[in-house]
């Protein structure tokens, strides 16, 4: 088994190109059925949203005092999912981590579509979404300006910056690969890739500026990713609601975001490497590295849960203690315990090296993590509102079919977009794989000449 976890050194540059370009061949019927299925669910969700706009938020399960529930849970969940992409593409790039080369494009693509999905939810949550532009700070006749002391305004800036920078970062990395695909394709694909590659030819001048711009983009994206989920956490932590008002939220949310995001990368990559026949490029060695990050972040998240509970107990704040008592043992107590099972206990299996190379087991664990992290966000968002300061306001919440189907639609939207990208654009970075293999070969050559 140890041999399976070696970094692959054997593929030639041509093998890499063929392996990646083969994935982009015209897809079969099963693929189109999958795409049609995804976008049918999106159409149902869009129809229900239209009905919600027409009828008002009464069609949802939102009632006093639970006015933030599944929609905001989905927003936080999808922003969190996005984070691992930037971790793998930017932070690990700065650390020159070689295993990222085979998986970073998929993770980065996931980031873009996850942020695009997350961005829909504040709009969906608005009773009058056509007034979304009120968030934009420009002199206007309404005498209504955004309050820059509100975390919701910080959020609008942070998420829109994140979406823009992620899209630019993904696009930049794609240019050399798309140019390569252009040379090896015909017909409309050649035209499409020619436009997208902007006439790239890999001259020394182009690479010199590309390398610098890419390095600086990675340097900018690294603090950005930390800031975005910190700002999302302040949407809650800046409020005085028990269960939300906590100084631990920013690092706790960032760790949780990376945890859920890397698990989502595994959920997507494990079946994808089989269906797209890229098992030679994305090997168990790469998946094992992802599993180790999931394990590490699971331990950080578990520690955060323990610290949060300890602070509630140690503070002596009776209201906070009651909220947490309700969280553990109230009507929604089962959600908390499912969360503990999925986020703290099941990932401990990843301590076993045998499980970390068992693709089926890893895929199932990653699904549990996704479920657990969704429940975590729901527990924080809706659970805290349901058991707030005043017992006379304590209430419950049951999601309506509109909210459930829009949530399902968001997953379908994300998976549909990701599937389209995976089939028509290089889902594995040919350039970075070649760079990694060149580095390894030269290191091996240097080592053998030193030994001689």
């Amino acid at each position: 088994m140890a041999a399976a976890l070696q970094e692959p050194t054997t593929p030639t540059f041509r093998d890499i190109d063929r392996g990646v370009i083969r994935v982009m061949e015209f897809p079969g019927l099963a693929y189109w059925i999958w795409i049609a299925f995804c976008f049918s669910l999106v159409a149902i969700a869009a129809a229900l949203w239209t009905r919600q706009i027409y009828s008002g938020l009464g069609v949802t399960g939102l009632r006093q005092s639970v006015m933030w529930a599944i929609y905001i849970t989905n927003f936080v969940f999808w922003v969190g999912i996005a984070h691992s992409g930037t971790l793998i593409s930017a932070i690990l790039f700065l650390f020159r981590t070689r295993w990222r080369t085979a998986v970073y494009r998929a993770a980065e693509t996931m980031t873009l579509f996850a942020v695009a999905t997350a961005g829909l939810f504040p709009m969906i949550h608005l009773g009058r979404p056509w007034f979304l532009y009120w968030l934009l700070p420009y002199p206007n006749e309404r005498y209504l300006q955004p309050d820059f002391r509100s975390p919701l305004v910080w959020d609008a800036f942070a998420v829109s910056t994140y979406l823009t920078v992620s899209a630019l970062f993904l696009f930049m990395g794609l240019i050399p690969d798309v140019a390569n695909a252009r040379e090896q394709s015909t017909g409309w694909r050649k035209t499409f890739y020619s436009i997208l590659s902007l006439g790239w030819q890999g001259t020394d001048r182009q690479w010199r500026h590309f390398s610098m711009a890419y390095l600086l983009m990675a340097g900018l994206a690294t603090p950005l990713v930390i800031s975005v989920h910190s700002v999302v956490s302040w949407d809650f932590a800046m409020a005085q609601l028990p269960g939300w008002h906590s100084t631990i939220f920013a690092p706790y949310f960032v760790a949780g975001a990376i945890f859920s995001g890397v698990a989502m990368v595994m959920t997507l990559l494990i079946p994808m490497r089989k269906w797209l026949k890229i098992e030679d490029l994305v090997t168990p060695w790469h998946i094992d590295s992802l599993a180790k990050i999931v394990l590490l972040t699971s331990l950080v998240v578990s520690y955060s849960y323990a610290t949060e509970s300890f602070m509630v107990w140690y503070s002596g704040d009776k209201i906070e203690q009651m909220t947490f008592h309700m969280r553990y043992f109230g009507p929604w107590g089962w959600i908390f315990w499912v969360m503990i099972l999925c986020n703290c206990l099941i990932p401990l299996l990843l301590f076993s090296p045998r499980i970390r190379v068992n693709m089926k087991a890893l895929w199932i664990i990653s699904i549990f993590v996704n479920i657990g992290m969704w429940f975590e966000r729901f527990d924080i968002v809706a659970g805290s509102l349901a058991a707030n300061f005043n017992p006379s306001q304590w209430s419950s919440y049951t999601p309506s079919i509109t909210e459930i189907m829009i949530t399902v639609g968001s997953f379908a939207w994300f998976l549909g977009l990701f599937s389209l990208f995976a089939k028509f654009l290089p889902i594995v970075s040919m350039t970075e794989l070649k760079e990694g293999i060149t580095f390894l070969r030269q290191a091996v050559k240097k080592g053998s000449s030193t030994e001689a």
Partner: protein, 181 residues
């Protein structure tokens, strides 16, 4: 048009050396520069520090544009936040009208946004993209698995051509071709 070594055509021409390895290619570049040959460009399927060092070009100006972009972002954020607060005095929670700590968050986000936009824009401008015409000597294999050095020279300079070919071959070029420019 590809022509042989004994061509009698006169005019500008290119000698194209094709290498299997970036280190060999970098050696060829260094040898060319040592022989005072400067009019050449390089194609490569991957970014290579060996080639970049051998070329001896100054560091990319993209850095400067990103710095300017980042500072512009901070200034824009300060203008938006302070300007808005002065224009509409909205007292919330007894906080000062100009509340620095929350404004720093907007400054940070716009610094990243403007810095990122500057990085991509300056990369495109400096790299000459979008490019509508092919660079001379381009071959699709240079995007795949070969490193190419394209030297511009004058066909009339027979001795010079042979010298360049010899430098490229000695550096480890797999193939050296002459092509009309």
């Amino acid at each position: 048009m590809r022509i042989g070594a004994n061509s009698t055509m006169s005019g500008a021409m290119e000698i194209i050396g094709s290498f299997a390895d970036d280190q060999l290619c970098a050696r060829g570049i260094s040898d060319l520069r040592a022989a005072q040959v400067t009019d050449f460009h390089v194609f490569s399927p991957i970014p290579s520090h060996h080639i970049e060092h051998a070329m001896g070009k100054p560091k990319s100006r993209v850095r400067l544009f990103v710095l300017i972009g980042g500072i512009t972002g901070i200034m824009t954020a300060l203008a938006i936040t302070i300007g808005t607060s002065w224009e509409w005095n909205l007292v919330a929670g007894g906080k000062p009208i100009i509340s620095w700590p929350p404004f720093i968050i907007i400054c940070f986000e716009l610094m990243i946004l403007f810095g990122g936009l500057s990085a991509v824009t300056s990369f495109l401008v400096n790299a000459g993209l979008p490019a509508f015409n092919s660079s001379s000597g381009y071959n699709s294999r240079f995007g795949e698995d070969r490193f190419g050095v394209v030297v511009k020279c004058d066909e009339a300079d027979g001795a010079g051509l042979e010298k360049i070919e010899s430098i490229l071959r000695n550096a480890g070029a797999e193939e050296v071709l002459r092509e009309a420019a």
